[in-house]
């Protein structure tokens, strides 16, 4: 089978990449090792309730944003009902050591006003912080369609200040520090390692707007699949790319599978974890320095995830999204800390009535390391030993207690329906480390670029640009820009914007 392009991995980045290429007239194959596309984002049903996995809500896809423009261009928006948060606030941060809580309003201007109202002693710094977030966002090509790709300061960003340092030099207020670092949980980089630029890419669009998708991740994947079919992408499921194939003169020729079948394509976009890519590229093709760099990328944390129901209306009590901050702050890099000392994110979704009992759904995410469950690493899902099940039960119970310790009124009213550990994530995410967001985008780490030194081989995915729906979109546009031309693709988006 011969194609113009092949995309390896049908997660959100892979689907988006394949649609862009197909839409622009290139015959494209999308290759996925699982039996379905985007297995991590599809969610699951338990006890009659739908629980989201992998996707919960997104910044920067509201009407008029670049993210929405990209979804429109790909033909995805028309299959989705994107609901932008129109309530006065989206995220709530609650602190352990006091009754202090902070509610994030929708809109960056509104956030600035709210911060100034809560922290009147830090007005100058708040101003500087907001300006810096806006400035960094304006420099990222595809987030800003007019930014110059050639002027990105890679070295300056890698060796830049950490978010934690920037804050501690400018304010002594621990609450303000926590409020302005809490979204580090959204890209899995602790504040002490988080670069200001990468944090801005996450919070800039997120402060501006938070959107939900009716039907959750399952509806999102269905919309991507429809758009892929409408644009003529050929999807190959249950197909694991085993190797990249090169011609005798060293040119990229395609990819081969276990059964000997091959797909010929001179351009390949790999969206699998970069460390996994190294297993399918012949050893001597990358230089030793690049091999070493990619194989030793520092990973974002994995997680313990509790899927629960509540008899109390958490939407009314809390809102849509809650962050619990332990007494000593937001840092979550040290996994020798008990879970009670780690910050936790709780996502609350719509309530429904089951057997006439009011029930609200919540998903509780606690950062964790694969090392915490490594003693059971060789066991098989569904057949794990008793010790592992007891460990799981223990963490699950403690997470419920953790939630209750911040909201005593929930005692006896919240229940776990399912629970996953880093081993579960490892099985579903394709990351050998069970990491939530792939390789860390942190200071002092050089993540791989979308282009590689192998002609025709490009990279996309959350390890390359940023995690989140918007991160996967930008990463897909950057990878495809190398094949189609960045100026052409950015121009096409601008024209699309004007025509719509």
């Amino acid at each position: 089978m011969t194609y113009d392009c092949a995309v390896i991995g049908a997660g959100l980045s892979g689907l988006a990449s394949a649609i862009i290429l197909s839409k622009n007239g290139l015959k494209t194959a999308l290759i996925e090792k699982s039996s379905r596309t985007a297995p991590l984002v599809r969610g699951f049903k338990r006890e009659g309730h739908y629980f989201d996995t992998g996707f919960h809500h997104a910044g920067g896809i509201n009407e008029g944003s670049t993210g929405r423009l990209m979804l429109d261009y790909l033909g995805i928006s028309q299959h989705l009902n994107v609901v932008s948060s129109n309530s006065n606030y989206t995220d709530m941060v609650r602190f352990r050591d006091s009754s202090f809580e902070f509610r994030f309003p929708v809109g960056i201007k509104q956030l600035k006003d709210r911060l100034e109202q809560f922290f009147p002693g830090d007005i100058n710094f708040i101003n500087r912080y907001i300006n810096e977030i806006n400035r960094q966002c304006s420099l990222l090509p595809f987030l800003n369609l007019n930014a110059d790709i050639k002027t990105m300061n890679i070295l300056e960003n890698v060796h830049g200040n950490s978010l934690a340092d920037f804050l501690s030099h400018n304010t002594d207020n621990p609450y303000l520090q926590s409020v302005l670092t809490i979204h580090s949980l959204l890209n899995g980089v602790p504040p002490g390692e988080q670069g200001l630029n990468n944090y801005a890419y996450i919070v800039g669009p997120y402060y501006e707007s938070v959107s939900y998708i009716e039907g959750g991740g399952s509806a999102l994947v269905a919309a991507y699949e429809k758009a892929a079919k409408e644009n003529g992408v050929d999807i190959f499921l249950n197909r694991e790319a085993q190797k990249l194939i090169f011609s005798s003169s060293g040119e990229l020729k395609g990819t081969g599978f276990k059964d000997g079948a091959e797909i010929n394509a001179k351009n390949i976009i790999s969206t699998i974890h970069p460390s996994q890519l190294m297993n399918i590229v012949p050893e001597n093709l990358f230089r030793p320095s690049y091999n070493k760099r990619i194989k030793t990328l520092d990973e974002t944390p994995s997680a313990f995830i509790l899927y629960g129901t509540s008899e109390i209306d958490l939407k009314r009590l809390i809102g849509s999204n809650l962050y619990l901050v332990p007494a000593d702050g937001n840092n979550f890099g040290d996994f020798s800390n008990p879970i009670e000392n780690r910050p936790i994110n709780i996502i609350i979704s719509n309530a429904d009535k089951k057997e006439n009992i009011f029930q609200c759904i919540f998903i509780m995410i606690c950062p964790a390391s694969i090392n915490e469950v490594e003693q059971w690493g060789n066991s098989i899902r569904g057949k794990r030993p008793q010790g592992y099940l007891e460990f799981k039960d223990n963490i699950c119970r403690r997470m419920l207690d953790y939630f209750v310790s911040y909201y005593p009124e929930l005692k006896g009213k919240i229940h776990a329906v399912d629970f996953s550990t880093p081993l579960t994530l490892k099985d579903y995410s394709g990351s050998p480390f069970g990491s939530m967001y792939g390789a860390k985008h942190r200071i002092e780490q050089y993540n791989p670029f979308p282009m590689t030194s192998i002609k025709g081989l490009y990279l996309a995915g959350q390890s390359i640009v940023a995690p989140g729906l918007l991160g996967t979109l930008i990463s897909a546009f950057l990878a495809c820009g190398n094949i189609l031309g960045h100026d052409y693709l950015r121009g096409a988006l601008k024209v699309w914007n004007q025509e719509e």
């Binding site: 070295l155 060796h159 230089r287 030793p288 320095s289 690049y290 050089y446 670029f449 282009m451």
Partner: protein, 87 residues
């Protein structure tokens, strides 16, 4: 470290990490034409230099202007001198 020692350290590190031909490691060797590196290798070159000399490289503009092995030698010698003077 003398200038010669710096040059020797650079050359040895680059030969090892980029599998370059020792015989081609002359100061006028062009990185792209002679040593067959490409612009994407520059990030790894920065990492190799940072590890070899235990300093951080933030001089984006100067790095982008590097064309020959001699340019790398001069960059590191200049930077090492500045660090020495500063400490």
């Amino acid at each position: 470290m003398t200038d010669d020692e710096i040059i020797d350290t650079i050359n040895r590190a680059l030969v090892k990490e980029f599998e370059l031909d020792k015989k081609k490691m002359l100061s006028d060797a062009h990185l792209f034409d002679t040593l067959e590196l490409d612009s994407l290798d520059m990030v790894d070159m920065v990492i190799v230099l940072e590890n070899a000399f235990k300093f951080k490289i933030t001089e984006e503009k100067e790095i982008r202007e590097i064309r020959t092995l001699g340019d790398i030698h001069n960059f590191v010698i200049k930077k090492s001198n500045e660090i020495r003077k500063g400490s």
